[in-house]
Symmetry: C2
Subunit: 78 residues, 2 copies
């Protein structure tokens, strides 16, 4: 079974760079990568917040949050 | 030919987490991942700095720097 990886972003330039550079570089044989645009699916903001996401872009894998560079604070998306 | 990915770290807890979570999750069919401990190989600090690394852990792929969370500033390793 694959490990779930969720990449949260908001369409910002820093987000796009991280998506292309990191999210797309993950091993899809081992990871099921979901890309969530929090600007367009704001109903998932709570889920991201609960996972510990403080800013985007961020990647959540097995309960660990990895903030990659800094595009926007989560609070700016509310 | 594989794309080179260099993961710079300093052995800190945040670094170890990022190494296990992100660096180890990269697709090794497409990426040749090198892990560099800047605390032990300080002769590579200049190279990291030139690549744009400001803090560790950081991953450099195709000239792009991805700072993953924040363990230590590069200046603290000099």
């Amino acid at each position: 079974m694959k490990t779930k990886a969720i990449f949260y972003h908001a369409g910002c330039p820093v987000c796009v760079s991280a998506e292309q550079g990191i999210s797309a570089a993950l091993d899809t044989q081992r990871f099921d990568v979901e890309v969530v645009h929090l600007g367009e699916t704001s109903n998932r903001l709570g889920e991201a917040e609960n996972a510990g996401v403080k800013s985007v872009p961020a990647l959540v894998i097995e309960g660990q949050v990895y903030h990659i560079n800094h595009g926007a604070d989560l609070s700016a998306l509310k």
